[in-house]
């Protein structure tokens, strides 16, 4: 990356939020048997997807998280590694771990593929419930009409 742009991105990180473990309200379920690192991964991922953690926000340090959650620091480190592997966060040496923007499909083909996938799932579930694809189509038309009506009123 161009050095000037690199400095700019560092500046942006300083302007955004540094999060406290308290801000994240991570809740560990001791009963479920789901590995702790995975619980942390899923909750952080969900918060980034929902926008509760904004791109560029700095996550708590491994040390702070481990201390606050009373977990082995290696477990937090593993969670951060997995989040980075999933492309959800990035670690910048010496600075910390930061949330990345959630990936959205850029081009038309990707968008179509993403929506097709969702629609196929709907049809599959309808089939399991004994609902015909034509009925799903009729239902979809109804919902679209409702949305259009709401827009006009609003």
């Amino acid at each position: 990356m161009h050095p000037a742009l690199d400095n700019l991105s560092v500046l942006v990180y300083y302007i955004t939020n540094t999060l406290d473990t308290g801000d994240l309200l991570l809740r560990l379920d001791e009963e479920s048997g789901v590995p702790f690192y995975l619980q942390v991964v899923k909750q952080v991922q969900r918060m980034i997807a929902s926008g509760a953690i904004a791109p560029g926000d700095q996550l708590p340090t491994v040390r702070d998280m481990a201390s606050d959650l009373v977990l082995n620091p290696n477990t937090i480190a593993k969670a951060y590694q997995e989040l980075e592997h999933r492309g959800v966060v990035e670690t910048r040496r010496g600075l910390g771990t930061f949330a990345r923007a959630p990936k959205t499909p850029v081009n038309d083909a990707d968008r179509k593929a993403a929506i097709s996938k969702l629609l196929n799932e709907v049809l599959l579930q309808a089939q399991e419930m004994g609902i015909e694809p034509d009925d799903v189509n009729a239902l979809l038309k109804e919902l679209i009409e409702e949305r259009n009506d709401q827009r006009i009123v609003a």
């Binding site: 001791e30 606050d68 620091p73």
Partner: protein, 310 residues
Amino acid sequence: MTKELLPNSAECEDSKAELVLPPAIKVDGLTKQFGRTRALNGVDLLVPTGSIYALLGRNAAGKSTLMQSVLGLLEPTSGSISVLGLNPMRDGLALRRRLGYIPEHMPMYEWMTIAETLRFVAAQYPVWSKAIQDDLVQRLRLPLSQKIRTLSRGQRALLTLVLAMAHEPELVLLDECTSGMDALAREDFDRSVIQLLQNSGRTVLFASHQIHELDRLCDWVGIIHQGRTLLQARVDDLKSQVKTLQVNDEQAELPGLTVLKRQTLGRDLLLTVRGDSSRYDWLPQSVVDVIDLRLEQIFVAIVGHEEERS
């Protein structure tokens, strides 16, 4: 005889320094006889440097005897023990400078104040960090002028922690120190342990009945049963090897998986099984669910199975 579950090299991509450095504690074939009682019957232990190691076992399984042998307080009947490269009986004095011990009840002079106790113990160590002591006392909010006999259980444990850590030991042994503590005191104590261990390269051996506590804190686990080592493994590896399967066919074939425990769930069976983690990649159709287990559940299944066999 020891059954060792060590991760195979293919799984060790994130190679940890702990397996390259010499172990903090190495025990081989340790036996200890008290008159006619065999408290330890060939125990093996390998505590990697830098690890937080959970020592699990039922009451009277031999955990405390093992700990005391490691500390040089008991002489082995046979077998060898090496702690930080030293022989605990022969090199006891040198070793005690480098390790910290936090038992359930640390004997103290009840009439002394906290400040007096700290001064008293500090004088016995050639190297003692007043900076660490002061920082800990402040963070743990220990009332310096209060007498020991007026302290709560939690406060006593925290003071014991300070006494064990101020001389910056390389190895810390905790023996049932949170037993009998209420949940808040235990959380405070555990949090302090974590904060003290961060990036310090220290090794911790933690014997406790509060397995859910150890589940959160430890990377390695060793299970002692009737004076022998049942297994030693990374906690993560053990969890990938022992799971519960919900099965709807009694005759289901589960190759490579040993059944430790059987329960029924309506018309289905719940089988707690153990095997190489790769065995869970392909399971027969009769397996309708694979359930991850807590360390506590794994412990109960493994020890329960062992007791059934004998």
